[in-house]
């Protein structure tokens, strides 16, 4: 072995050692118990959704063999992980039980890890200022309150109580149609005078995050109700309920 070879080996070894040192240092700085930076946007729906997505990814993708668990403990953790994975998959097909399970987990993540509480929950949906609530917010609150009382008959009860299933003429259209307008939702919301506890508010927020992340968007809750069906089409000409780009029938 020549001196040249020895020098080369040393250079390679030092290179590898330097790379490992740099890698560990970088990771150390990156990951030490991430704390949530609180600013104005922290408690918006987008940020919360981002957090939920990241946490669920972490929980479902963690390599349990790295944690150093006993055989039995590993088996149980695997089962729990599989259960969550199955629910995350099942809820996208509209399984109501899987949806409940995923929502329970989102609820816990937000209240226990993300620090959502009575003081900051209104940053996501302005529960305290009804004038700032959108038609979708109001509808979500209404359907939540009715669901608590009537279960999957909530929508039917709401329509029955306020006689919403009638033909009406809408501004800008020549033919009458069966439609529930923003104005009607606002009126019902005012009449109902719903008072929500923190848990209720968080449940509404959780539902909103769920429907954006895994559910069926604005029709997610409506779809679960005891109804004949939901049909939707793109609707650009006028803004009705829920979403400017979608009608809900």
């Amino acid at each position: 072995m020549t001196i040249g070879n020895i020098i080369l080996i040393l250079v390679v070894l030092f290179g590898i050692a330097g790379f490992i040192y740099y890698y560990i240092n970088k990771k150390k700085k990156e990951e030490v118990e991430e704390k949530i930076n609180i600013d104005d946007k922290t408690y918006t729906l987008d940020k919360m959704q981002e957090f939920v997505k990241k946490r669920l990814d972490e929980i479902t993708k963690v390599n349990l063999y790295d944690i150093g668990l006993s055989e039995e403990e590993l088996k149980r953790r695997k089962n729990k992980k599989y259960e969550l994975k199955k629910a995350l998959k099942g809820c996208t097909y509209g399984d109501v039980n899987d949806k409940k399970y995923v929502k329970e987990i989102i609820f816990d993540l937000l209240s226990k890890e993300y620090g959502v509480d009575e003081t900051n929950i209104s940053k996501s949906i302005p529960f305290d200022i009804p004038s700032l609530l959108t038609a979708q917010d109001k509808f979500d609150i209404l359907i939540y309150a009715y669901k608590k009382e009537f279960g999957y008959e909530a929508l039917t009860e709401l329509i029955k109580k306020y006689n919403l299933a009638v033909l009406k003429y809408v501004e800008g259209e020549t033919k009458p149609s069966y439609v529930i307008t923003e104005q009607e939702i606002s009126d019902i919301y005012e009449k109902e005078k719903i008072t929500l506890s923190f848990a209720d508010k968080l449940a509404v927020v959780v539902q909103r995050i769920y429907q954006r992340y895994k559910g069926y968007s604005s029709i997610d809750e409506v779809r679960d109700m005891n109804i004949d069906g939901v049909s939707g089409r793109s609707f650009w000409s006028s803004r009705k309920l829920f979403k400017p780009s979608c009608t809900n029938r």
């Binding site: 890698y23 560990i24 990771k27 150390k28 990156e30 990951e31 030490v32 118990e33 991430e34 972490e58 929980i59 963690v62 390599n63 790295d66 944690i67 150093g68 039995e72 403990e73 149980r76 953790r77 089962n79 729990k80 992980k81 259960e83 969550l84 629910a87 039980n97 899987d98 949806k99 409940k100 399970y101 329970e104 987990i105 816990d108 226990k112 848990a199």
Partner: protein, 276 residues
């Protein structure tokens, strides 16, 4: 296949949880039963937790092997409640949320972790499911469980162990309770005393006579080593150590009484099952 509920009729320290720990550890060591303890106490105040496991600091892996965050899903009642609420609970699932003391022998389902809402309503369902999987389900019924749920759990139990202290007031209150509710006079109920002092005037013989109780009154004497072990997560070690202790040893009375209590419970369960 049987549910044994430990309950105290008074809002006082009767050593109920310590009795559960002693009896279940003894049964797990000496008998071939698959036992589950269900705790209804809030986790931060739970003696069961400190008796079997030491508080572990979360491991840090420098971020090399995945994120430095808790990636476990909640265990104990808190985790199981989510499954129950989404109608996915089955007897086999319960074991995933329990902590192991002795593999295939003794497991613990710890109580709720924090201020979760509406957890108590699901206790009867969880106990019922656990009963299908384990040979013996021991319920540590706490005072914070709402009265209607408490009564439902007591009604559904195969055996109720009522704990009381050696205070005259406590004994009188239990006597009144027996007069009011015939359930407490039935064969389903055993009377027990935790932190027992055999030198007291209110010893089990005198209490039996006073209450007119024909069944054996169970006692778990105060034992310094046992109470210390429960603080240091060394209860299993303690029982394995004192298992074959000399009859002259000061711990032998404790062990003798734990044995008597455990065997009484098993005998009573078998007796009740044979009469069914």
């Amino acid at each position: 296949m049987s549910v044994v509920t430990f309950w105290n009729s008074e809002k006082e320290e009767t050593g109920k949880t310590m009795e559960i720990i002693a009896v279940s550890t003894y049964l797990a060591i000496e008998h071939n039963y698959k036992i589950l303890i269900i705790s209804t106490t809030e986790r931060k105040n739970d003696v069961i937790k400190t008796s079997f496991w030491q508080e572990k600091k979360p491991k840090k892996n420098l971020g090399i092997f995945g994120p430095n965050r808790n990636v476990d899903m909640q265990s104990g009642i808190s985790g199981l409640v989510r499954v129950a609420r989404s109608n996915k609970i089955s007897p086999e699932i319960i074991t995933n949320y329990a902590k192991i003391v002795f593999k295939d022998r003794l497991e613990v389902l710890l109580g709720k972790d924090g201020d979760e809402l509406e957890v108590e309503d699901l206790y009867p369902q969880i106990i019922n499911m656990a009963n299908k999987y384990y040979d013996l389900v021991i319920v540590d019924l706490d005072d914070n469980v709402p009265k209607d749920i408490r009564e439902e759990i007591i009604k559904d139990s195969d055996l109720i162990v009522v704990n009381m202290s050696q205070r005259l007031k406590s004994i009188n209150n239990f006597a009144e309770l027996r007069e009011e509710n015939p359930l407490y006079k039935s064969n389903k109920v055993l009377i027990s005393m935790g932190k027992y002092d055999r030198h007291s005037k209110y010893n089990c013989k005198n209490i039996s006579r006073y209450l007119g109780e024909k069944k054996d009154i169970l006692t778990i004497p105060y034992n310094t080593l046992f109470f210390e072990a429960s603080e240091e997560a060394k209860v299993p070690d303690f029982f394995l150590r004192v298992r074959k202790v000399d009859p002259e040893d000061r711990n032998s009375f404790f062990l003798q009484e734990v044995k008597r209590a455990s065997e009484n419970i098993i005998y009573r369960l078998q007796d009740l099952q044979s009469k069914m």
